[in-house]
């Protein structure tokens, strides 16, 4: 793979990268997109580093595809600027932006062979036939689709079609790859396969990649940084582990993770320096919790978020860990084996929680257990604003 990447002109890419000013590859500045009265994106700004793999993640209608299309130059923007490789491309045609794009529906030209599909852009740009052929052949080699070059798209499987579509972007030696939910039309197995392939491609080529998806697994596995979007606004822009472990608000916390984070509703209890969280009669001391700076108000309604894997099962008397874990008795109400792990359902106070446990130990309905919440890894949110505290 890496040898082929050099063939594809990695040196040229790096040279180009160094020649361009700064380390920012794509810069979105105060972007506004409005359709009539509806504002899809409102003054969005976003800088994407050179060679970065950025994933735009969010539910449908959050504006992530709109943002990608705006970067590609495929839709008219209302206001703001888009810079790619140090050049203001706001009003440039898509072809002049140095981008390649891969679409969810593959978007292969139905009447052209795989070879012609991949070489179409090069042919238009006036490259000599031999050069087009050579570049297509190299890209086909990278993607292992050499045997398919003479076929028509209709004669290919979904996975093969998407490889061809990636190849079409690849041959153009562009700075920035844009992916618009490229794996959403594939079945689970192929999706995982191609996901790995895209990641490898990124590692080998080192291009900037912007990848739109609503699949959090794709986002977590591929991204250098994830931009989680909702309602046209980036909620959090951070590396995957940070998005997962320190979600900045309730939406992000709930969107990432499967099964979802447990949200416990309660009230803050502040006495001097000690902060605690009251769920009914249960008082959970929070001195092991790393605050994010939000104001803590005594008696304020709050939400304590604990991921299923951050609740462990122990016995009530197990060793002291400096109050990092909060222990409370529970009872198994449901057992959901998922293969690698087993999900247990229990009550904490009056609220249901999910606990991820090893599948090796058998649990049964009605078993008495001790829940141990890892408060160091928990998240505390303001119930009203949803912001992390």
């Amino acid at each position: 793979m890496s040898k082929i990447a050099t063939d594809l002109g990695r040196d040229a890419i790096i040279a180009h990268r160094e020649a361009a000013s700064g380390q920012i590859s794509v810069s979105v500045r105060d972007l506004v997109i409005r359709y009539g009265a509806q504002t899809v994106l409102d003054r969005m700004s976003l800088d994407i580093g050179r060679g970065e793999f950025l994933v735009l993640l969010g539910p449908s209608g959050c504006g992530k595809s709109t943002l990608l299309n705006a970067i590609a130059g495929l839709l008219d923007i209302t206001d703001g600027e888009i810079w790619i490789s140090g050049k203001n491309v706001t009003w440039d045609e898509p072809k002049d932006r140095g981008i390649g794009m891969v679409f969810q529906s593959y978007a292969l030209y139905p009447r052209m062979s795989v070879e012609d599909n991949m070489g179409f852009g090069l042919k238009i740009s006036g490259l000599p036939k031999a050069e087009v052929k050579a570049r297509v052949a190299k890209a086909a080699q990278v993607l292992q689709i050499e045997a398919l070059l003479k076929r028509k798209p209709a004669e290919l499987s979904g996975g093969q079609r998407q490889r061809v579509a990636i190849g079409r972007a690849l041959v153009r030696n562009v700075d920035v790859f844009l992916f618009d939910e490229p794996l959403s039309n594939l079945d689970a197995k192929l999706r995982a396969e191609l996901r790995v392939e895209i990641k490898r491609l990124h590692q080998d080529l080192g291009n900037t990649m912007i990848y739109v998806t609503h699949d959090q697994i794709e986002a977590m596995t591929l991204a250098d940084r994830i931009a989680i979007m909702k309602g046209g606004i980036i909620q959090q822009l951070a590396p995957p582990h940070e998005v997962y472990n320190k979600p900045c608000n309730l939406f992000v916390a709930g969107f990432i993770g499967s099964p979802g984070m447990n949200f416990l509703k309660g009230r803050l209890a502040i006495a001097g320096d000690t902060v605690a969280f009251d769920i009914g009669d249960l008082r959970i001391p929070l001195h092991a919790y790393e605050r994010s700076g939000g104001p803590l108000v005594d008696g304020a309604e709050a939400v304590l978020g604990v991921r299923p894997e951050h609740i462990s099962l122990g016995d009530a008397a197990s060793g002291d860990d400096g109050g990092r874990r909060f222990r409370t008795p529970g009872r198994v109400e449901m057992v959901e084996p998922t293969g690698a792990d087993t999900m247990l359902w229990s009550k904490l106070g009056a609220q249901s929680v999910t606990i991820r446990v090893s599948a090796d130990v058998a649990y049964h309905l009605g078993d008495t257990i001790t829940l141990a919440l890892d408060l160091n890894r928990a998240s505390l949110f303001d119930a009203k604003s949803g912001e992390r505290l």
Binding site: A72, L74, P94, M101, S105, P110
Partner: protein, 299 residues
Amino acid sequence: MTMATAHERRPRGPKPRRLTAGRIGIYAFVAVSCLFFLMPLYVMVVTSFKTLDEIRMSQIFALPSHFSVEPWVTAWSSACTGASCDGLKVGFTNSVLITAPSVVLSILAGALLGYSLSLWRTKGSNVLFGLLLAGAFLPYQIFIYPLVRIYAYVSLYGTLFNIITVHVIFGLPVMTLLFRNYFSSVPIELFKAARVDGAGFWRIFTSIMLPLSTPMIIVAVILQVTGVWNDFLLGTVFAGQANWPMTVQLNNIVNTTEGTRAYNVDMAATILTAAVPLLVYFVSGRWFVRGIAAGAVKG
């Protein structure tokens, strides 16, 4: 496959009876309908092969006692239309000269317009399309006088150019509607991919969209060939006497007032005139189905 699913796949319920009263009724209706439409054709065909004497003597349903191709030859080459007696062949040539360019031009224009209205969506494209649609529902007749005046003003009235452009204009609304709706069903991502690849307005049209529209082009050809070939009104008004299409010539042969009415020649002339649209139906019908079955935008 497990036993359970194999079992599921067996037909359930009582076996349907082959012949029910309803079924007999349907077949009877179909048979009567066929007769209803085939009878006139049959009469036309047999009459066209009879001599005039025989037509006067015998039953109209009887087969000709003596086959004669004379009426066909007369209809084609020497039947009289008013002053001249050159038969239908002049009209045939005229009709071909009118139909071929009209069909090609109106389909090209409709495809191009439909393409730009569906995929490029410039400002006001919806208004333009609305107006065009309204045009499709307005009766021809109200345009005739203004058009006559316009063409006369630029001294093009009564020419081949006149009748061809009129056909293109009147064909445009339906052609545009057809292609706009077809191109609207093409995944927009295909269009986006082409733009990223650097294809412009014309390149996308010729390299991607037009090759995709074979089924629509066949539908359009059927509509336009039959429409233009069968046209009588526009041909009479705009073509000019020298370019009168076959339909107008046919009318003149059939309605000629001199001498006895040559039914056999009339019938032969009518069948000759109808032959082209019939041929289009028979030939393109198969292609039409094939085009649809090929799946235009798959992949």
